[in-house]
């Protein structure tokens, strides 16, 4: 297998997903199959080929630095799962 269930659990942790051991095991064959397929790319000689991250050649997109209105505090908080005094509320971070 190209990937172990321990590696999947590690990657899931990096991605802030909570998998149990059974879920990780069931992903092993699927992710392995995809990674093996993706290895097809290794057949391609890419020495001296620059990577493309943007299909259209655009120079840096600058805009004028002008003041404008931003989202009002109340609108920004409208969808917050928990809010208080104009702030987003999160669980305690520092013990």
């Amino acid at each position: 297998m190209k990937i172990t269930s321990e590696e999947i659990l590690h990657v899931a942790d990096l991605a802030r997903l909570e998998l149990d051991a059974a879920a990780a095991r069931s992903l092993v064959p699927q992710i392995t199959e995809i990674l093996e397929y993706v290895d097809l790319m290794q057949q391609v000689d890419t020495s001296d080929v620059p990577p493309t991250t943007h299909a259209i050649s655009l120079k840096n997109a600058f805009r004028d630095d002008v003041c404008r209105t931003h989202l009002e505090n109340a609108a920004a908080l409208e969808n917050a799962p928990e809010k208080d005094a104009g702030c987003f509320v999160v669980p305690r971070i520092i013990g």
Partner: protein
């Protein structure tokens, strides 16, 4: 006259301008059609009857005052990952189930300015990840041509809604074929514009170097009308290209004499391509020849590597883009948490469906320490070679013709447990996203089982006008686009 919901945008606009029908009549007809049919199709996540009728009344006033545009009073559907400030925008995900955006996407602003009526938000694969609309957290969408089959995806709700006359036209998004493949499966016209042609401000991001918004419509002229309305530079989207937009409707006038159609050997050589799809596409190419086009074999030697490159790049970008769903600023939060990390984990695990989690894990792995060069960098280099293939091919031809999907729409459930097989159904469409070029699907036939088949036409960057003209000429010589599903 046909029933109002069966009209094209062009036909309805003519009747609206002449005062023969009102937008309120038209909108009511579409809403009644949704009431009657959508229980069996499942195209909409949200139907906005009240706001649609209010918009229709406003449109009627604008039309009466002579202030109508080509889209004034026209009932349209919008894929549910395009932000609408008065309607939920769920991305078909539990994590955004109750999310009502504080602003409109740029394309929605433009539709509103044009006086269009937004009848609802269309179903999709969760966060646009899928090729069948089965990955929606809320409902499946059935193919109007055969309800045991998928409509394609990820813009399956938009395609099914247009096909079943549940709207007159729709917007979708296309990251690897998500407009073109469902358009082909539902027998409507769907166009993925050039990367940068349409502003993505307010489009929920999936894979930022690939995503593009585009129209789905009953024919190419309607597609051109919608593209006219949504195209153009927007400083709020840093990938938007400052470039003049032609009138795509005015461009529907040239015959095909002198047009060179490239036929990529690699696309017609693919194992696993359905014989009826191949035959229909070959017949469509024959029709273009009859209309004066010349065919030329071209080569896209790196096409066989496109799926591999895509399924590294798209999940990698998705894993980064979807990091924002953390249960803090908007969307679902799991409230059982004891600390912040546990809140993140529980929220994301309960909020995202299986395919989204699979892609986040795949993308996180591909970007993680030690694997970046082997996966993301390699895929980005292969991407360069795929782009160069198209550049070379378009030096000798004006458009490239190919199938859209290797088979007609498959049965519901056929591929849900086999992600790789599902990914391979994108083999013909995702190169256009990697290269940033425009491509469309136009109906070109039906299988013996009565399932639609689409012809894909792709062209160089910013050649949408040419693609639409070729599709329009093809429609003048054929009647596939006029056929209606048996509902």
């Amino acid at each position: 006259m046909r029933q109002l919901h069966g009209l094209t945008i062009s036909e309805a606009a003519r009747l609206l301008a002449a005062g023969e029908i009102s937008s309120q009549q038209l909108t009511r007809a579409v809403l009644e059609r949704i009431d009657a049919i959508d229980g069996r199709i499942g195209a909409y996540i949200t139907v906005a009857a009240d706001t649609a009728l209010a918009q229709a009344a406003t449109a009627d006033a604008a039309l009466a005052a002579g202030r109508g545009t080509a889209l004034t009073g026209i009932p349209l559907a919008v894929k549910d990952l395009i932000c609408t400030r008065d309607l939920p925008t769920t991305c078909a995900s539990k994590i955004l189930q109750d999310f009502v955006p504080p602003y409109d996407a740029a394309v929605v602003e433009k539709l509103r300015q044009a006086g269009a009526v937004l009848v609802g938000k269309a179903n999709m694969d969760e966060f646009a990840m899928g090729s069948s609309t089965e990955n929606s957290a809320f409902q499946i969408t059935r193919n109007p041509w055969n309800r045991n089959h998928v409509p394609g995806g990820s813009s399956g709700g938009s395609a099914a809604a247009v096909s079943a006359d549940l709207c007159l036209g729709a917007l979708g998004s296309d990251t690897g074929g998500s407009i073109r493949q469902p358009a082909a499966h539902c027998s409507v016209v769907g166009l993925k514009p050039t990367y940068g042609r349409v502003s993505r401000f307010g489009l929920v991001a999936f894979a930022s170097s690939l995503d593009q918004i585009g129209p789905l419509a009953k024919d190419s002229r309607d597609c051109a009308l919608l593209l006219n309305a949504i195209s153009g530079y927007d400083k709020r989207d840093s990938t938007s290209v400052p470039r003049d937009v032609p009138d795509f409707v005015a461009g529907l006038k040239n015959d095909l004499k002198g047009l060179t159609v490239g036929i990529p050997a690699e696309y017609f050589d693919t194992r696993g391509i359905d014989a009826e799809v191949l035959a229909a596409v070959r017949r469509a190419i024959g029709t273009m020849e009859t209309l004066g086009a010349r065919c030329l074999e071209v080569s896209l030697p790196h096409a066989p590597y496109a799926v591999a490159a895509y399924y590294v790049i798209a999940p990698s970008e998705a894993s980064s883009n979807l990091a924002r769903y953390d249960g803090v600023k908007y969307g679902f939060r799991d409230h059982r948490q004891t600390d912040l990390m546990e809140m993140y984990r529980r929220t994301r695990t309960a909020g995202f469906g299986p395919e989204v989690q699979r892609r986040i894990i795949l993308g996180t792995y591909a970007l993680s320490a030690g694997y970046y060069d082997a996966y993301y960098r390699k895929a980005s280099q292969v991407r360069t070679l795929i782009m160069r293939d198209f550049e070379k091919a378009f030096a000798n031809c004006d458009v490239i013709a190919s199938p859209v999907a290797p088979t007609p729409a498959f049965e519901i459930g056929a591929k849900v447990d086999d992600p790789l097989r599902m990914y391979l159904s994108d083999v013909f469409t995702l190169s256009a996203n990697l290269a940033g070029i425009p491509a469309l699907s136009v109906p070109c036939g039906f299988s013996s089982a009565g399932l639609p088949i689409g012809l894909q036409l792709s062209g160089p960057h910013f050649s949408e006008a040419r693609l639409l003209n070729v599709a329009w000429q093809f429609e003048q010589a054929t009647d596939f686009h006029l056929k209606k599903p048996p509902l």
